[in-house]
Amino acid sequence: MTRGQINRLKDQAFAYFGIFCTLIGLVILAFFIGNIFYDGMTRIDWDFLTNLPSRKAEKAGILTAWAGSIWIVIFTFLIVVPLGVAAGIYLEEYGKKSKIAELLEVNISNLAGVPSVIYGLLGLEIFGRLFGMGNSILAGSATLALLVLPIVIVATREALKAVPPSIRAASFGLGATKWQTIWYQVLPASFGGILTGVILAISRAVGETAPLIVIGALAYVPFTPSSPMDEFTVLPIQIFNWISRPQHEFSINAAAAIIVLLLITFVMNGIAVYFRNKWQKKINW
């Protein structure tokens, strides 16, 4: 074999290795999920979704867990969307090139790298103790909102950046003020991008476990919350609790609850990808 042939052979070999590496992670994940479905699917029925937690595995359900997750999602959404979108607008449309904008930018990229468990410590001391919210839904939501805030801010900025300056110039030319331009022209045009970021942020919040454990969310809550000041549990904490028990029946329960959690996560991510593609196609400036 000549040097050239050897090189071409190596090239070909790497191509196959590349495909192998690309698929290996996905294949393993697919195997994991298949395994979970095999274990957990038999356990999922109406009773499992509507039963309260129980010390007996076969009687235990996830009602309080998913009810708590829904409460958490709603309040996280209510806090993070106005805050994140407003911060994104300020950075992109107002604060550009100022000293403070530079500081904010470095700060936000740093916050995005802070481990989630540290946000838990923040929530425990500030929301839980200083603001007296204890281990309530509100304290949990506020903690998660700060955790996913960078995601919403970055998505908002990207979406606003994609709106061409000519739109703004045209609006100013007709005598609109800066805020009128943003509210009536720029925001509606960037709605799709912002929505995608918000959905991804909420999907991240649904799966978070550690910060909520740190602020004191409980694994065993025998009632569904009826106000934002109530104690709560969420799906991931219920799953963690069941995994931690030695009996095999509880790990079946965990598998069943994981199916529900994965379904929520994948549907939300799917919707986000759908919106991203749809809005990218629709807007042709």
Binding site: N7, R8, D11, A15, G18, C21, T22, G25, I28, L29, F32, A86, A87, Y90, Y94, G95, L103, L104, I108, S109, N110, L111, G113, V114, P115, S116, V117, Y119, G120, L121, L122, L124, E125, I126, R129, L146, L149, I153, T177, W179, S203, R204, V206, G207, T209, A210, I213, V214, G216, I239, F240, I243, S251, A254, A255, I258, L261, L262, T265, V273
Partner: protein, 290 residues
């Protein structure tokens, strides 16, 4: 124009919430840690080889937790680094555009799966599988937690590295092809060196992500602080310790309560340094080709 000013003020306040968050994190970590270090010397914290704050015979040496964290992190990066970079090279130099368009969002799924689910995989699937041919492997260990964490952070490495490779000007690649180089030679001798700063950033971020990961290690790596490099025995990471204490009934104001903040600030320092190195590299090498 009063309304305009008020709105701008509100927007600015929202942006400043991010600064308040950072201030809040620093305040919480520092105030409780300072109180902790008034009772336990920093010297003991760094040099003691045991971490037993919850036992009668208390030791406050952070090293076992740091070691557990580094052990799981290095295993994870050892898995994610070769696979992630190979994927990045394959997608940017070999794969057809269509394949790339389908695979990239699919890979992102790996990072979107909740970590508690990965913890379940590590404990219930990977550990029993490894035990079948590694005799003496404990039910809780850093190896399977590390491997599963590595699978999770593959997209962090592959996606950022791929972006870096794509940002290299086409002319470099074409020049290499023009000299008769194969795709493999072009990838490793031209593209990877040209994109090295971006690739390094992706690896640093993967490290940072693995150090801060909590649920996988809390579930699968165990809760026994131990100064060891043996991947087959139970260990405890900094994050897992914080979770362990939070699950129990530790009263506010006690020394045990303060330990989670001392552990937290150690964790924060690690990730803060890594994040800022990556930020610095990104800033410094950004306009190399413009």
């Amino acid at each position: 124009m009063k309304k305009e000013k008020i709105i701008e003020g509100l927007l600015k306040f929202s942006a400043l919430v991010t600064i308040l968050t950072t201030v809040g994190i620093l305040y919480v970590l520092l105030s409780e840690s300072i109180s902790f270090f008034s009772e336990v010397s920093i010297w003991e914290f760094i040099t003691d080889k045991e971490w037993t704050p919850l036992f009668v015979n208390k030791h406050f040496g952070i090293m076992p937790l740091v070691m557990g964290t580094l052990l799981t992190t290095f295993i994870a990066v050892a898995v994610a680094l070769p696979i992630g970079i190979t994927i990045a090279i394959y997608l940017s130099e070999y794969a057809p555009k269509k394949f790339k368009k389908i695979v990239k969002p699919l890979l992102e799924i790996l990072a979107a799966v909740p970590t508690v689910v990965y913890g379940f995989f590590a404990l219930m699937v990977v550990t029993p599988f490894l035990q079948s041919f590694i005799p003496g492997m404990s039910g809780f260990n850093s190896l399977s937690a590390g491997i599963v964490m590595g699978i999770m952070i593959i997209p962090y490495v592959s996606s950022l590295s791929e972006d870096a490779l794509s940002a290299v000007p086409k002319s470099l690649r074409n020049a290499s092809y023009g000299m008769g180089a194969t795709r493999l030679q072009t990838a490793f001798k031209v593209m990877v060196p040209a994109a090295s700063s971006g690739i390094i950033v992706s690896v640093i971020l993967a490290f940072s992500r693995a150090i801060g990961e909590t649920m996988i290690v809390a579930i699968a790596a165990g809760q026994q602080p131990r100064l060891t490099a043996n991947p087959l025995v139970p260990v405890e990471t900094i994050t897992a310790y914080i979770v362990q204490v939070s699950l129990g009934d530790v009263a506010h104001g006690t020394l045990e309560y303060k330990t989670i903040f001392a552990a937290g600030i150690t964790l924060f320092i690690f990730t803060f340094i890594l994040n800022n190195i990556s930020f610095y590299i990104r800033k410094k090498f950004k306009e190399q080709y413009d």
